[in-house]
């Protein structure tokens, strides 16, 4: 049943990286419960623009839960309280008339503030650049299925590859650790034959880069897998740990 509700937003506003930010309160009136959370912010922004105020800056792109651009902490929960959804797929039907909704950006040293709810997540790109790829010679396309891969392994690799790099794992981690992201990227390649030749150097390079970027240390709090919109499992973190032990302590790489 569609109905319209009124909610109050307490939004983190910050003009830029080195300016002091704070919460501002805005009413969101006559919001259809069919709207997504981002559409609700669009409505508030239209009103703010009409009032001659600066609209709330937030990241978004596909708005269908697959790109990983959107994300904010809603009442203390990354992407809101619904399990396995991105912020754009969180709908206003999950809120009640009269609710006060606190909206904060991802908070981590490695994700510096850009503006309001927008943070710079390029640290993730740097982790990928450090080794989240395979090196393939150009040439004719190889035959499909020329390398047999067991169905179970393919499924595990696919589960890890579902990571959209939204940063919710870092935002949800009490230590702001990027282990779930890094482990998903390491896993999707380490599981498959194409990723095996570089598995050793990849594990070392990606972990070292992650530390260098000032992400915290994983302490197995499991908040990341609970908040991940793609429900990536911490069994990937255990796989990263195994890959790291293999690479750091028993491999031929010096």
């Amino acid at each position: 049943m569609t109905k319209n509700i009124n909610v109050t937003l307490k939004v983190w506003r910050q003009k830029g990286p080195h300016v002091k930010g704070g919460f501002e309160t805005y009413p969101a009136t006559d919001i259809s419960t069919d709207m997504s959370f981002l559409e609700m912010i669009d409505c508030v922004n239209e009103q703010l623009t009409l009032d001659g105020k600066e609209p709330i800056a937030f990241d978004h792109d596909c708005r269908e839960g697959i790109c990983g651009m959107c994300g904010a902490v809603i009442n203390g929960r990354c992407h809101g309280q619904e399990k396995g959804t991105t912020l754009c797929q969180l709908h206003m039907r999950h809120f009640s008339n009269g609710d006060t909704i606190v909206i904060e950006p991802w908070r981590a040293t490695a994700f510096p503030m850009v503006k309001d709810l927008v943070v710079d997540r390029s640290a993730f790109d740097q982790i990928i650049l450090a080794g989240g790829y395979i090196s393939v010679n150009t040439g004719g396309a190889p035959d499909a299925n020329s390398i047999p891969i067991a169905q179970e392994i393919a499924e595990l690799a696919m589960d890890a590859a579902a990571c959209i790099g939204c940063g919710a794992c870092v935002a949800a981690c009490p230590n702001a650790s990027a282990m779930l992201f890094t482990s998903a990227k390491i896993s999707q390649l380490a599981l498959l034959p194409q990723g095996k030749p570089e598995a050793t150097s990849r594990a070392l390079a990606m972990v070292n880069k992650m530390d260098e970027l000032c992400f915290g240390n994983c302490s197995n709090e499991r908040e990341c897998e609970a908040e991940c919109p793609k429900e990536i499992s911490i069994s990937n973190i255990a796989r990263l740990n195994r890959e790291f032990v293999k690479a750091g302590l028993v491999s031929v790489v010096k």
């Binding site: 972990v207 992400f215 790291f244 032990v245």
Partner: protein, 213 residues
């Protein structure tokens, strides 16, 4: 990438050191509990256990040095991790809610750890670094637990230890890469059972000793 220091200095390396030393302490707790259970066999049985243990001589010293070495690694690495993790998020959220991952144990690891360190020093001052020429270990215990303050401190510290290992045990396996749908639920359950056994087993001893008087 040279030597052992480089991989061990990374975040994963530090966690591996915490896991290995932590598992060592879990083994120690088990042995300590098993030994202390001889109390329920009576005063003489307990004193004879203590004598037998100390008659091992250099082996005991070796074990003590090993535990001291493990403690140094565990405490120093833990403090470094705490400092780094704080720096990874100096700006806190104004609303904090758990998504279902955090437990009492996991959320309090650094704090329960510091309390345990202080307790271990206190405990060693009570029973290790004392003159035992004219007394028995049982007598020392009996004297100590005559005071309700000592009973409270010891019982409280054991509960803290139980909370610490309730996260620590399964977490160590996860860090060592042992995660499988077949046994991870078992390990998580085992952590809880282990912490309850340690909590009740060691926590009841001060009360029992005071009742014996």
């Amino acid at each position: 990438m040279n030597g052992l220091t480089n991989p061990m200095g990374t975040s994963v390396g530090k966690k591996l050191m915490m896991a290995v030393t932590g598992l060592g302490f879990c083994c120690f707790l088990t042995i300590h509990l098993a030994g202390n259970l001889t109390l329920y066999g009576g005063k003489d049985f307990f004193n004879s256990y203590v004598e037998h243990l100390h008659s091992l001589g250099p082996l005991v010293t070796l074990a003590e040095l090993g535990l001291l070495f493990f403690a140094l690694i565990h405490v120093l690495t833990g403090m470094l991790l705490f400092y780094q993790n704080y720096n990874a998020r100096p700006a806190r959220y104004s609303v904090n809610k758990r998504a279902g991952g955090r437990t009492l144990g996991s959320a309090t690891m650094p704090y329960t750890g510091v309390i345990l360190l202080l307790f271990v020093i206190f405990h060693l001052m009570n029973f290790h670094f004392v003159d035992k020429t004219n007394t028995t270990t049982f007598q020392l215990m009996s004297n100590a637990f005559a005071s309700p303050v000592y009973i409270f401190i010891y019982t409280f510290a054991v509960i803290i230890a139980a909370i610490h290992v309730s996260h620590g045990l399964w977490s160590a396996f996860q860090t060592l890469g042992a995660n499988h749908p077949k046994y991870t639920p078992f390990l998580r359950g085992l952590s809880i059972v282990f912490s309850v056994v340690i909590g009740i087993g060691l926590g009841f001893i001060p009360v029992y000793v005071s009742l014996l008087r």
